[in-house]
Symmetry: C2
Subunit: 482 residues, 2 copies
């Protein structure tokens, strides 16, 4: 009856898939590479959306919706863009029973069709900046797929902004990177690193791509959100122009930025353990679950009544709470089930607790007795639970930060040591780097490690590149990556 | 400079399109039959979504997400379904540069792929009812399109539920019809009629389709939301079975229900006038706009400061408020502009108002001086505005209800009179009806009128069918329809 999750040490990849499926976050779809996001996973996504959408609106953005279908000719207008996305396109060739004159691409990203619209809407400097975000589905025909991390169809938001000057566009690019980092750290409890992508890894059509990079439980990097400075590349391809204050026509400067359902995978692999999922309270669909415990029938009513009073108290205090009153399974089964689903706090109520007008609290992030508090007075339990949720949230961030620290390796002197550390320890290799894109390719081929990012926040000062031996200020983080 | 809207009496259809485009609700897309929902229109949709989503959750539903792509073979499993949807499909034939083995349909509705999932998820009566909703985009290759009312791609929600008994499924179908009606009446101020669709007009694959029907400003009917009792049609096609309490396998009974961006068109055509849009306060993106008025430069600062104080006061009170401090256009231009965009309440502040510590309030639904209140004290203006918003909301519903009453025609004795009333008066023809589906076809061909619905709430008692002369209890509403 009880579900089994493969331990991380046995097979990290199976551990991940076991959690996604057994916690009912998502399922494989009958269409290759697609997934069904089940209610529990979708509610997590709704909470992610709410946290981001609030931040977007606070920074002056509005939402809109652009078409799913993009004429093939649009994709071809920006040279790097078409080169990058061509291999991944899904193409509609027939509509209403007839062959279409021009095939339509199912959007792999919307710079082109939004660029076309902006060219119609923007007339003068008064129309700028134009700050629009879209929540939608995206299709990229991926060869190897994995639930949430890389699927043919996924959900995301894509921000698209147009500005009068290069400076303003760069500022927006970095502002939204900061918004992503703030969300990841404070809502998802994931201590991301803000950095710049290498030229090899940047978005097809961008001048510069920025990223938030997270370390997963196996030491690999997960690119968790990106913000692109597009220069005038798309403005020139789509004729996005404005009349400046001197009545002269200028091309706009544009940005785009996106964060997707991939974030769900990042949360699983940052916080989860061998018992299953651990969800940060800010995003958890259920923050506290109440498990009533009784043996005899006469205990049942009094325990359930007390449980219901606690449920109402927590709900009134704004805690997302569930009372698990199933009768066909045991309390022990319920404990495992909700642990596997990552609910941050469990409230246990048995006949002795009722007699004392108390409850037992258990926190998901600390196993066994160590994470339990006994005899917590039932009156005012809502305040205690809320404080405990805050504590769990902070503890998850701290643990992930410590884990990242322990698995980040510095002071690597040469390529031999680099390879040794990568194989023996894994994690992030934070190194001085002055190599070329071709050097980067060679390292990727030989070690499978790529440049996760050039971190923005560096303290190292100058040093010698481990690969070329050249003196440089530049720091790169190499790692295996999803 | 000022935009012109075609008067309704000149060309109702142009009036509609003028409003959609000039109020910046939506734009035509560069892809045939698709639209771009602009920020103002999308915010209206966000408010519609919030009102519905809250009601869905209150009635026990959860959200999930199913794939955009559906294998062609799925669509073909339910005979009526494939017959109804085949002519409208968009088909993906190529992915990742290769021809697909089985073409994929871009979802025109999701009964099939969700039915496939439910067959995996449902095992026993304990898994029932399963109550899931999805917010997503939909594609139907429509021949004639019109912004919001009928577009190749549109946004909607689709609820899909599975039940153990026929009775429960019928109850759910009617419950969600009631939820739609409650939303339409109380949030959109549209006095819809709840009814049943004729067999000719029902959903392809349903046993019975129910509808909320609204009367537009030209007397035509708009089907604004539908709720379908699917019987065991999809359960049998997709093998959705459960073990009942006696451990016997049974087919489930299913329902589906949807409401789309079409509702935006319904709001425009229910409330709008020759000045433009009129939005119900509950859904309006901007509920109150503040227009500061000054001539001399020294008046400017004091007026803007007073306007900002009022803005802050309204925002604190939870009113969605905008201060229009543009300098390049006149107050008169702003009045027209916001009237055209349908903002329910305008707050005017000039130097004399500032001197009296007062404001002028103007309500959108009553033109000219009749809709204005002068010398409203600036202190405590938020409460006055909130009460006024409630008043406008109620007045819009009342006006629409009276309009529908005045344009609903009863007591029609024969087909001659029917045709005469339809041509000369239009609107809803509420008649006794005992005709066959073939009679319905004939009337449609000869008059373009269709059965909008068989209303659920009838008081008429028995009477003679205007077409067949037969005695009947059945009432039908005939009308021209979108």
């Amino acid at each position: 009856m009880a579900k089994r999750i493969t331990p991380r040490s046995v097979d990290y990849s199976r551990w991940y898939t076991d959690i996604v499926r057994q916690a009912e976050l998502a399922d494989y779809a009958p269409v290759r590479g697609c997934m069904i996001i089940r209610p529990y996973g979708y509610t997590l996504w709704e909470n992610i959306k709410a946290g981001l959408d609030r931040r977007f609106k606070e920074t002056g953005h509005v939402n809109a919706y652009f078409p799913l279908f993009i004429p093939m000719s649009f994709i071809q207008k920006e040279a790097q863009h078409v080169a990058g996305f061509s291999p991944e396109l899904a193409v509609v060739t027939h509509g209403g029973g007839k062959k279409l004159e021009e095939p339509l691409v199912v959007r792999p990203t919307s710079e082109t069709i939004i660029g076309h619209a902006y060219a119609q809407w923007i007339r003068s400097y008064r129309d700028l900046p134009l700050l629009i975000n879209q929540w939608c589905n995206i299709v990229r025909w991926e060869k190897r797929t994995r639930l949430f991390l890389r699927t043919t169809e996924f959900l995301w938001q894509e921000g698209h902004t147009a500005h009068a000057t290069e400076e303003e566009a760069v500022e927006e690019t970095l502002r939204m990177l900061g918004v992503y980092a703030d969300f990841a750290i404070n809502d998802a409890a994931i201590p991301v690193i803000q950095g710049k992508k290498s030229q090899r890894e940047k978005f097809a059509g961008a001048v510069d791509s920025y990223t938030i990079e997270a370390m997963m439980g196996n030491g690999w990097a997960l690119q968790s959100g990106t913000s692109h400075f597009l220069g005038q590349n798309f403005a020139k391809a789509f004729d996005i122009k404005y009349l400046d204050r001197n009545n002269e026509l200028q091309h706009c400067w544009t940005t785009s930025w996106g964060l997707s359902t991939r974030m769900v995978g990042g949360i699983i692999m940052t916080h989860g353990d061998d018992q299953g999922l651990i969800l940060p309270p800010v995003l958890a669909p259920i923050q506290a679950v109440i498990v009533p415990i009784w043996r005899k029938e006469k205990e049942r009513t009094v325990v359930l009544e007390a449980a219901e009073r606690v449920r109402a108290q927590l709900a009134d205090a704004g805690v997302r709470v569930k009372l698990d009153d199933r009768e066909e399974v045991s309390p022990g089964f319920k404990f495992n089930d909700w642990e596997m689903r990552g609910v941050p706090v469990r409230v246990e109520i048995g006949p002795r607790d009722v007699a004392q007008n108390a409850v037992v609290l258990a926190r998901r992030d600390r196993p066994g007795k160590q994470g339990k508090a006994f005899g917590v007075p039932a009156d005012g339990v809502a305040e205690v639970v809320k404080a405990l949720l805050d504590e769990v949230q902070a503890a998850l961030l701290q643990r992930a930060t410590e884990f990242r620290g322990a698995n980040t390796h510095t002071g690597i002197r040469d390529y031999e040591e680099f390879k040794e550390v990568l194989v023996e320890k894994g994690g992030f290799l934070r190194v001085h780097w002055a190599g070329s894109p071709e050097d980067e390719d060679r390292i990727k081929e030989e070690t499978k490690a790529t440049i996760s990012c050039y971190p923005l926040d560096i303290e190292e000062g100058p040093g010698r590149c481990f690969y070329t031996g050249q003196e440089t200020d530049n720091i790169a983080i190499f790692s295996r990556a999803y």
